[in-house]
């Protein structure tokens, strides 16, 4: 094509395709160039069709809005973790701030899911089952504190949970049935600046059964 190399400097008006093929004949007045973006809300030329009303329309509409509300209440609606308040408050320790240890609020059928998806949770201390840990690497002090702190939080959660009315989640309150005992891979932040093991509310007197713990109980 003769004009290929020549489109640059000379003959600027030349196009690489045949204008007539597109449908613009020679000498046709082209529409004026657009100097601004088209308006965001162009005025409507015709009235829009009315929306369906009547029994069916009303019912489906109400149903839709109801479903939206209902789904927000179900355990499948995962809320991001509440951001930490600027000042640590004493009451934080006693507030139920979501599922234990990042576990799920409902009970999926784990047999149907890939094993890697299961979030492992410590067994509740109240169950009093010796925790068999065959090949545990020696725990660091920090880990032990976290362990104890977790047990405390679990206990409190169990107390608060059982004192609530049955109206709250029906089958979903099956924290007692967590099976795995392995330590969760994620590191958990300390809830407060205070070392939890110093706080003793008397509940765990004689209850600790963790074999590997060699730190004294206060």
């Amino acid at each position: 094509m003769a004009s290929r190399g020549g489109g640059r400097g000379r003959g600027r008006g030349q196009l690489t395709f045949n204008m007539e093929a597109v449908g613009i004949g020679k000498g046709d007045t082209l529409p004026p160039p657009t100097l601004q973006p088209s308006p965001l809300f162009p005025p409507l030329e015709f009235r829009p069709v009315p929306l369906p009303s009547g029994e069916e329309g009303e019912y489906v509409l109400a149903l839709k809005q109801e479903l939206r509300g209902a789904m927000r209440q179900l355990p499948y609606f995962i809320r991001p973790a509440v951001p930490k308040r600027d000042v640590e408050r004493y009451s934080d320790k006693y507030q139920m701030s979501g599922p234990i240890d990042n576990a799920i609020d409902w009970n999926p059928d784990w047999r149907r899911l890939p094993r890697e998806l299961k979030i492992r949770v410590r067994k509740l201390q109240k169950e009093r089952i010796t925790i068999l840990l065959p090949k545990r690497p020696p725990k660091t002090t920090e880990e032990k504190e976290e362990t104890i702190q977790k047990l405390e939080t679990l206990e409190k959660k169990e107390e608060e949970v059982t004192s609530e009315e049955d109206e709250e989640k029906e089958e979903e309150e099956e924290k007692e049935e967590e099976e795995e005992e392995e330590y969760d891979e994620e590191e958990h932040e300390e809830e407060t600046d205070y070392i939890m093991s110093y706080f003793d509310n008397g509940e765990d007197f004689g209850g600790d059964s963790d074999d590997n713990m060699d730190e004294a109980i206060y």
């Binding site: 929306l51 995962i78 999926p108 994620e186």
Partner: protein, 500 residues
């Protein structure tokens, strides 16, 4: 995936499951199949959050997984299934029209929870229905079970693939993820359960409870420790079956509009006879003889065999070509031309869009062009085939209109969320006032006191709330409406693509 689809999926996931699930879901839709750690890394989310999100998505049939080499599990999102969430109200309402409140709640529970065992559904639904009944009355499990069985028989609910029962002597470590399977013939097989019991009210003290000893476990209402008879057998709503129903409804009402009530009843009968024997993407139904159709007409219909035959001939001759004659045995063999019907419906949708947006003159031109093309090709055309060129043209038109519809739903949702956020303060205030009034009424407050509380919301604020409610309703109703358009266009697109 188009940008419009992704945007809409994002909005739907966020509204129904929250931001975390939305982030993971949208990521998978964009990138395709990925393993757990890559998802966590790419989205910058903690491993725990990703696990939670995946559990929710898998539970709701929005994400599936596959085990690859070396035991790596990869997760994949089903974008089109996410879009189906728009249609949940329609599925539920349809069930209500067919199987009344009991059926409605069964499908609603299945959709809200993704999948459930039959015993779990029956219990939930019985409890919910009991709540709405008069004091002292309860809903029997048996009645709910019966409705469930009917839904399974007509294929509106189906079994999910399940964990295969392995031999105990299976050696070796368990696989990283189970491979779920389902046998075709088991898909609608209802397990033999004898579910005995009645629904329970949440607050009542147990006169109507089905003799369950309350002393058992005071903190739990349910019998967690009893063995579940249908353990591991999960059910889900069969969306394809609903789509088939919507399609049939659309065809029947098109025939009613174009011809008359009797013709539409005949077509409805033919479609009903073909419900289970014809797959959803088939171009025609199985041929039905005029004799069979005559026998299957609804009980109240008193037309003679000759009249039926006349109607069938008229239908087959109609240029719409919804009904076709495929043989002469049995008094005449007839089929419903599903693909042609869908094409007509989709075309009519397009025409009406052109009409509403650009006026009747444009609509006339549009119709003429469509017709003219049809006539030009007619000589070359076979009885049931649509020539490739026209099909491609139509397809393109439908796809672009479909795209615009998806975009407009996304706009509607965003606008609704915006309006709600703008008025957040006012909404919260009004909710608080309502709560105060409710609790005051419960403790027997006087009219004057209630009046005072109500006045906490000023008149202009009330006005604002009214306007907000009206607008939100309009936006919601528009979403529902546009989804109906999407359904018609997508049905046609799907059917055509399968034929290419």
């Amino acid at each position: 995936m188009t940008q419009a689809e992704i945007k809409l999926c994002s909005l739907l996931l966020q509204e129904h499951f929250g931001e975390i699930v939305e982030k993971i879901g949208v990521h998978l839709i964009r990138t395709g199949s990925q393993p757990l750690r890559v998802i966590a890394h790419d989205t910058g989310t903690s491993l725990d959050q990703v696990k939670k999100a995946l559990c929710v998505l898998i539970q709701h049939n929005l994400v599936s997984y596959q085990v690859h080499k070396r035991g790596v599990v990869e997760y994949e999102a089903q974008c089109s299934r996410v879009l189906r969430m728009l249609r949940y109200p329609r599925y539920i309402y349809t069930t209500k029209t067919l199987y009344s409140d009991t059926g409605e709640l069964i499908v609603e529970e299945l959709l809200l929870n993704g999948k459930l065992t039959m015993s779990a559904v029956v219990k939930k639904v019985a409890d919910r229905l009991t709540e709405t009944m008069e004091d002292g009355k309860t809903m029997d499990y048996a009645e709910v079970s019966n409705t469930f069985v009917r839904l399974a028989d007509t294929h509106f609910v189906q079994r999910c693939p399940s964990v295969p029962t392995t031999e105990n002597s299976d050696p070796g470590p368990p696989p990283p993820a189970p491979t779920l399977v389902i046998n075709e013939k088991d898909m609608y097989l209802v397990p033999k359960l004898s579910l005995i019991g009645k629904g329970k009210r949440r607050r009542s003290s147990d006169e109507d409870a089905a003799g369950e000893p309350k002393a058992k476990r005071p903190k739990h209402t349910t019998d967690n420790k009893e063995p579940i008879p249908d353990d591991g057998i999960y059910w889900q709503a069969n969306l394809d079956r609903f789509h088939q129903h919507f399609r049939d409804q659309a065809i029947v009402s098109a025939v009613a509009n174009r011809m008359d009530q009797t013709s539409s009843e005949i077509v409805r009968t033919m479609l009903r006879m073909s419900e289970i024997t014809t797959s959803s993407s088939a171009p025609f139904t199985q041929p039905l003889s005029s004799n069979e159709i005559f026998r299957s007409l609804p009980v109240g219909y008193n037309i003679s065999k000759q009249v039926l035959d006349q109607y069938l001939t008229l239908l087959a001759d109609d240029p719409l070509e919804f009904v076709g004659k495929s043989g002469d045995s049995g008094g005449g063999m007839y089929v419903i031309n599903l693909h042609k019907a869908l094409a007509s419906l989709a075309t009519a949708t397009l025409e009406s869009v052109v009409q509403e947006r650009f006026g009747s003159r444009c609509a006339r031109i549009f119709r003429l062009v469509l017709q003219k093309k049809h006539l030009e090709q007619k000589q070359v055309e076979d009885f049931a085939m649509i020539p490739a060129k026209e099909a491609k043209d139509m397809l393109y038109k439908m796809l672009s209109e479909n795209f615009m519809s998806l975009q407009s739903i996304a706009n509607l949702i965003e606008r609704r969320q915006f309006e709600t956020k703008e008025n957040k303060r006012l909404l919260e205030k009004s909710q608080r006032v309502e709560a105060i009034i409710a609790s005051m009424q419960a403790t027997g407050a006087e009219e004057a006191q209630l009046q005072e509380i109500e006045e906490m919301i000023t008149a202009p604020e009330r006005q604002q709330l009214e306007t907000l409610k009206r607008n939100v309703n309009k936006l919601d109703a528009s979403e529902i409406q546009v989804d109906e358009t999407i359904f018609l266009l997508e049905s046609y697109i799907e059917c055509t693509m399968k034929r290419q």
